[in-house]
Amino acid sequence: MKANKDTIISFVCGLTSIIVLWAIWELTTALGWQYARVLPPPSQFLADFADSGFKIGLGSQAASVPESVASSFFRVFMGLSIGFVAAITFGVLVSMNIWVKRFVLPIVELLAPIAPIAWIPIALVLFGIGNQTAIFIVFMGVFFILTIVTVKLISTVPQHLINVARTLGYKNYQIWLYVIIPYILPGVFTMLRINFIAAWMAVLAAEMTGLRDGLGAIVMTGRNLFNSDLILLGMCLIGISGFIIDVILRFIQNKFFWWDTNQGTSAHK
């Protein structure tokens, strides 16, 4: 019950500071602050936004905001899901043979530090303007690092868990499937959450530069039209969307990948 109370208090406090910030913002504008033109407060850009019928852009090129949000979400989730599954699969395959590991892992380690944003030009050349490009960028942003984590975690699976399965009659592929992979899932997923931010930024950057839809494109359209309402709206949506995705990822972690491998297998509870 105590944890519950803590959550409620934290929530109320967080909400309070957001409201206060908002109030100050509105107040400074109302008092005629000189930068109000580039930083219009929510009351202004939301009103404008409602007037335009939740559409952004001009004429036939106009995209609806929900569509933009949906396409950014779709890209991020596709990229993360494919990256997660592919990295675990690849990490497992690499770990199965010491020689494959020795030859392949250095390449992965070399590619991992490349910022996801750096993949944008290549992605645009490879896939042109479209979802594939954005998904590819997110994928590249998480794939290498998750592969490294997968390989590393596989080497930490306690030998006695493997022995248990073996003496119970499990074959090698079944040990991978039922012991080793479940064992590493929470750790890999935690790493996915940590790397999500970089992947998210890369998608937005791609939407600003190459692609013409999605949340990043809203900000860019605003810039091209010298419309600060639109820029601010885009920024707010980006902030809120990023937050929501993080909440979703946390939910997935707690629901599906919650186990702490240091507990339950160990004598010290």
Partner: protein, 285 residues
């Protein structure tokens, strides 16, 4: 005293139903200096027996258990299980499985992402019990080990004794005739340990299993076993085979019990001292 000194290395032991180790040697070669862990170990565990193995820390008890479980392979010597040679690669990577043998560890080896029921089901999966009968068989097993009310709990929600009972239920679920237990109760507090000793005796009698039990605890070994093997300091070899000739349930205050206890304790002290001396003889680092 009902003890007999083991015969010389060259003696042959006829393979029978149960385990039979003949002149087993094992050396760890992956470190800079190879470590001789088991030297000329010969022992015999008959089907249905409760056999304990006592020895100072580091003398190779776990190694021996891994060999019996088919996870490690001896460098020389032969292990028979029910008259068949147990063979496997040293790392155990390509080990043919011996699902007749269930292993129970001190730290339980439960899978933290599975419930109690799930862990027991994990043990039954390869048992050959038809799929549609498994559900009922698991429930029956859980009620036998007193964990029915905890079927949907996860390992981290259980006490040490419950975790160990889950681990035992998992080994039973596989229908293994042989249970190999590596210091299974040493992480438990005194009260829980007494309860678990009683529990294990029940399980052993009820399921007619063969149990190989490794322990540091002299009293525990005498309380539970038909026969105790005393191992020397590393490299481990069988110094003595002690048959415990006491009716069950046994009483720790019994005079004869005390005789066994004194005998085994003095052996253990001598071997522990020896292993200390050996450690001090080797300069560290």
């Amino acid at each position: 005293m009902n003890t007999k000194h083991t015969t010389t290395a060259s003696s042959k032991i006829e393979p029978v139903k149960g385990f039979s180790c003949q002149n087993v040697h094992f050396t760890w070669k992956d470190s800079e200096q190879p470590v001789d862990v088991l030297k000329d170990v010969s022992l015999q565990i008959h089907s249905g027996e409760f056999v304990s193995i006592i020895g100072p820390s580091g003398c190779g008890k776990t190694t021996l258990l891994n060999i019996l479980g088919g996870v490690s392979k001896p460098d020389s010597g032969t292990v028979y299980l029910d008259g068949q040679i147990l063979g496997s690669s040293k790392q155990g990577v390509t080990a043919p499985t011996t699902s007749d043998v269930g292993v129970i560890f001190q730290d339980y080896g439960l899978l933290p992402w599975l419930t109690v029921r799930g862990n027991v089901a994990f043990g039954m999966k390869m048992s050959g019990i038809p799929k549609n009968e498994q559900k009922n068989a698991i429930i029956e097993l859980l009620s036998k080990v007193g964990l029915l009310d905890f079927a949907n709990h996860y390992p981290h929600q259980l006490s040490g004794g419950m975790k160990q009972r889950t681990s035992i239920a998992r080994a039973l679920a596989n229908q293994s005739q042989y249970l190999l237990m590596d210091e299974p109760f040493s992480a438990l507090d005194f009260q829980t340990r007494l309860m678990m000793q009683e529990f294990l005796t029940d399980i052993w009698q009820q399921f007619k299993k063969t149990i190989v039990f490794i322990t540091h605890h002299v009293e525990e070994a005498i309380l539970l076993s038909d026969k105790i093997y005393l191992l020397s300091a590393r490299p481990g070899t069988v110094l003595e085979e002690v048959t415990i000739d006491l009716p069950r349930p046994r009483n720790v205050a019994d005079a004869k019990f005390n005789e066994y206890r004194n005998h085994i304790t003095s052996y253990l002290q001598k071997e522990v001292l020896k292993s200390f001396e050996e450690q001090n003889a080797i300069p560290l680092g």
